[in-house]
């Protein structure tokens, strides 16, 4: 309970500070820190050139295992707005914010989103072939639902408006325009997935970051994480996954941009399936890559899924 009090009071203090201060000076951009690349892209879409954005966990990097740097803390200390995903996705964040002594309000973008409970009470990340367990009561990967991305965008606009009243009409206009793009994206995804034969809509990934995608668009994802949280991905887990792959006739196995592909390669070869390419789960690609923005990332993932599933 103490934890709640602390965060509450820091939020209140932050709120007081922003209201007490004169609205943001016109010549200075709003200093925004976003925790990871996907949020950073959404912030750019809403903030445009009124904000100066710093994203802590960059392209192709896994926020779960990020090692925060002093420069990150200094950026937080200077921030007007801090954007995080929440749901324990950014394990490093609260301690870093504390060390930074930042007074900026912390906006949790999953607030108000349709959150999936995690029946397994956690999930795994694979780092150098080793499973690292992250216990979370809720699934943090909410951005894999376009509907949730709309909630993120709404929350970002609200946060920017609160910190920079003068810019508010612009933020709201940008957010509305982006919301329309998201509506289009959602329809595109639905059409593409609906065109796939139902029984073929089963895919295998290393860490189950796609449960929101599964919920919204009807592709089932299997992952080598057992139903129990009590052990790391053991030989038994992998064996039971292979059984499940056969039972459910999974169509393809995918690696992820944030982790090395060794484990899924092993699973693919044991299950007699081909590797269908890499999906972008928890991070964007670098600018020159195929998934440098949220919209591109979702499109690329759908394209990769459809091509692999439709292959034969």
């Amino acid at each position: 309970m103490k934890k709640m009090k602390f965060l509450l009071s820091s939020l209140t203090i932050a709120a007081l500070c922003t209201t007490a201060m004169p609205s943001h000076a016109k010549d200075k951009k709003l200093a925004v820190v976003s925790s990871f690349s996907i949020i950073g892209d959404l912030a750019k879409a809403v903030g445009g050139d009124r904000i100066e954005l710093r994203t802590l966990v960059g392209p192709n990097s896994d926020a779960h295992v990020y090692e925060p740097r002093p420069a990150d803390a200094l950026a937080l200390a200077r921030a007007d707005v801090i954007l995080v995903n929440g749901l324990l996705f950014e394990g490093f964040m609260d301690r870093l914010i504390e060390a930074s002594e930042s007074k900026a309000p912390i906006t949790v973008l999953t607030d108000g989103a349709e959150i999936l409970n995690d029946p397994k009470g956690g999930h795994y990340h694979y780092v150098d072939g080793k499973a690292i367990f992250h216990a979370t009561p809720n699934d943090p990967h909410a951005w894999q639902s376009v509907g949730n991305a709309k909630v993120y965008v709404g929350n970002i606009a609200k946060a920017f408006c609160a910190a920079d009243k003068d810019g508010c009409p612009i933020y709201e206009k940008n957010a509305a325009a982006y919301d329309e793009k998201l509506t289009g994206l959602a329809a595109e995804i639905k059409t593409a997935i609906d065109a796939l034969p139902k029984e073929r809509r089963v895919a295998v990934v290393a860490h189950n970051a796609f449960r929101y995608f599964e919920r919204d668009y009807g592709v089932t994802f299997l992952a080598p994480q057992g139903v129990s949280t009590e052990s790391e991905a053991s030989a038994a887990d992998v064996a039971s996954l292979i059984r499940e792959i056969r039972e459910k006739k999974a169509a393809a196995v995918f690696s992820e941009n944030i982790s090395d592909a060794r484990l899924v390669k092993q699973i693919a070869s044991e299950a007699g399936l081909e590797l269908g390419g890499a999906l972008y789960s928890d991070a964007l690609s670098p600018p020159e890559g195929p998934a440098a923005s949220y919209l591109d990332m979702m499109r690329y993932n759908v394209k990769t899924l459809v091509e692999a599933i439709d292959r034969d």
Binding site: M1, K2, K3, M4, K5, F6, L7, L8, L11, E67, P68, R69, P70, A71, D72, A73, L74, A77, V84, G86, L87, L88, G91, F92, M93, D94, R95, L96, E98, A99, S100, E101, I106, T107, V108, D111, I115, N117, P119, K120, G121, G122, D128, F133, H134, A135, T136, P137, N138, G226, V227, S228, T229, E230, S231, S234, A235, A236, D237, S240
Partner: protein, 604 residues
């Protein structure tokens, strides 16, 4: 309110102090406990006490003077007795298990581990990646102790050999190792050889790379993705890669005072940054990635000891010889606060003369004061003394174990094994999986004698649906998700088992196969959540070829007692079976009606 679940605030956590090591009685109480271990300057003795209740006190005899290290998240204390060629281990009695949004804490009395490590002049200790590595300066090797075994009171070691004995260290980096390397130039008399650099090696010490130059290398620490060590030229950093450890030297910049070096480094826990000494009157903040890599902090007097706050990476603390404690702002590279906390202790004389040492313990900086015979508690926020604790002799080196966590009296929500608690008696703590090794006793097969039915058919036909609904109401998972979990858990084609006079008969799809089984020991499993379970294992002695080689019972009990129901694991590979945690075919007495089973399951 979702934003409130962002994470654990160390500040807030440190706020709930309780009086003693006693277990909390609430369902889930937040407990903060720090236990301080103090080595005497002269006597072979370690005194341990609970910071918030120092009358909880224990003494451990050792052979000689101790340098103490808190390792494995504070679960163990290492006592290095360099002059006496011995290393002792003490289980601190406090273990913390992190679960993302909270930690669990388990508390018991500290206990010395019987087996010591012995060897010529043990010195540096590294604690990283589940390995505790002790360099034997005159032995020419490192002993690597498995931290997990140590937590069970066992000392299991492997050895990493060095080409020549020296005052150095070895450390795990990714899947490889690095060791310091001594010059092969001959030395006079008993003088120690000089150190020339760092080399990638295999776990046994076989060279696996070139020597990276780092003259006089000393003072190693880990932070974030980096290992760092000081040398004459600068700070050598090491990171892992698929091809093995990668070294990079960060030379001391020109604006640092000349002809001085870093010989001690500390690594921050929640930020990737190091704090090192630099000459006798300075400190450096080392950022291994971003410029400026070095920020120099000049001290008003010579430095005695320094520490980093594991809870808040912004701050470190340094004690200077005038008896002042200073708070260091690591981000700004400045001293942010100073206060006099003890009488002066001159840095003239031998490095091992009795002088204070400092360590962090939650909201306190704890400091030994050898001349006063005290451990002082100093508030880390305002540097004011909040209390003193008398310690006999000359308290000198110290180490702290502990932290904050929840104590689970009753682990319902942690029961991810899907166990149903169909028990009429016993200790709820044991059923939830919290017990001491000593409480676990061998059990006979007759504990499981009887005629048993699988509950899987009841799951299939929907009889158990009220159970899932009941569980969903109590927990956070949906009915569907719970049912799915149990679908995998209960799944089996062995629908009936009979156990009588040491003979087990399996009815697979109605077809019997039978064999006699003999007791083959017990295995204590530690689950992800920190709770534990015991498998009682029986090995096939004689019987049908189709009967499994091993059967393993799990029924929440840890000592002889008739089972009310059980989960059974079977197969031909004893070790592999221990890893099976998703499929646990579950059996209730055949005499029980479906309705009775449902009410039994719902009651627990």
């Amino acid at each position: 309110m979702k934003h409130l679940t962002l994470g654990v605030s160390a500040l807030a956590l440190a706020a709930s102090l309780i009086g003693s090591a006693a277990f909390a009685h609430d369902d889930e109480e937040n407990v903060t406990l720090y236990r301080v271990f103090v080595g005497d300057h002269k006597a072979g003795k370690v005194t341990a006490f609970d910071l918030s209740k120092p009358e909880n006190r224990w003494t451990f005899e050792t052979k000689g003077q101790n340098k103490l290290y808190s390792v494995n998240e504070g679960a163990a204390i290492v006592s290095v007795q360099s002059d006496d060629d011995v290393v002792n281990f003490i289980n601190s009695g406090i273990s913390l298990h992190a679960h993302g949004d909270h930690s669990d804490i388990e508390i018991s009395d500290p206990k010395a581990v019987e087996k010591p490590l012995t060897g010529p002049r043990p010195f540096h200790v590294i604690d990283h990646d589940g390995k505790i590595v002790v360099n034997f300066d005159k032995g020419g090797y490192n002993d690597i102790v498995d931290a997990h075994e140590l937590s069970h009171g066992e000392i299991e070691t492997t050895r990493l050999k060095q080409a020549r004995a020296h005052h150095g260290f070895a450390a795990p980096v990714g899947n490889g190792w690095v060791t310091t390397v001594a010059s092969d130039a001959p030395v006079e008399g008993g003088a120690a050889p000089t150190r020339v650099g760092l080399q990638a090696v295999k776990a046994d010490g076989t060279p696996a790379g070139d020597v990276a130059t780092c003259t006089g290398i000393h003072g190693e620490a880990f932070s974030g993705a980096f290992l760092a060590a000081g040398c004459k030229e600068g700070i050598l950093t090491v990171t892992k890669s698929l091809e093995g450890p990668v070294t990079k030297l960060l030379p001391y910049p020109a604006d640092l005072p000349k002809d001085q070096t870093t010989g001690t480094l500390l690594g921050a826990k929640s930020m990737q940054v190091f704090l090192g000494n630099y000459g006798a009157k300075g400190l450096v903040v080392v950022d291994p990635v971003d410029e400026p890599n070095f920020r120099y902090i000049e001290l008003p007097f010579r430095r005695i000891d320094f520490a980093l706050d594991p809870a808040n990476a912004r701050f470190g603390y340094v004690l200077t010889e005038d008896g002042s404690l200073h708070q260091i702002d690591v981000l700004d590279g400045t001293l942010s606060k100073s206060a006099k906390v003890t009488e002066p202790y001159s840095m003239d004389g031998h490095w091992n003369d009795p002088r204070p040492r400092i360590a962090m313990a939650g909201d306190d900086v704890v400091m030994t004061d050898p001349n006063a015979g005290l451990v002082r508690r100093i508030s880390k926020t305002d540097l004011k003394e909040v209390g003193t604790i008398k310690v006999e002799g000359k308290p000198y080196n110290l180490a702290v174990a502990g932290g904050s966590g929840k104590v689970h009296e009753h682990g319902e929500e942690h029961d991810h094994d899907g166990h149903d608690h169909a028990h009429s008696q016993g200790d709820p703590k044991i059923y939830a999986g919290y017990f001491e090794d000593g409480q676990v006793k061998d059990r006979p097969l007759s504990d499981y004698a009887g005629d048993w039915q699988s509950v899987y058919p009841y799951l299939k036909d929907g009889t158990l649906d009220p159970v899932w609904e009941h569980k969903a109401e109590k927990g956070t998972a949906s009915v569907d998700d719970i049912r799915k979990e149990y679908e995998v858990g209960y799944k089996t084609d062995v629908d009936r088992i009979t156990i009588e006079d040491g003979v087990v008969t399996f009815y697979k799809n109605g077809k019997p196969s039978k064999a006699s089984y003999a007791y083959d020991g017990k295995e204590i499993l530690t689950y992800k959540k920190g709770n534990r379970g015991v498998r009682f294992i029986f090995k096939k002695a004689d019987g049908d070829a189709t009967a499994p080689q091993f059967i393993q019972f799990s029924d929440h009990g840890i000592a002889p007692n008739k089972a009310g129901h059980y989960h059974l694991y079977w197969g031909n590979d004893r070790a592999a079976l221990l890893n099976e945690v998703t499929n646990w075919p579950t059996y209730y007495p055949s005499s029980m009606k479906a309705k009775q089973i449902v009410s039994e399951m719902k009651a627990h």
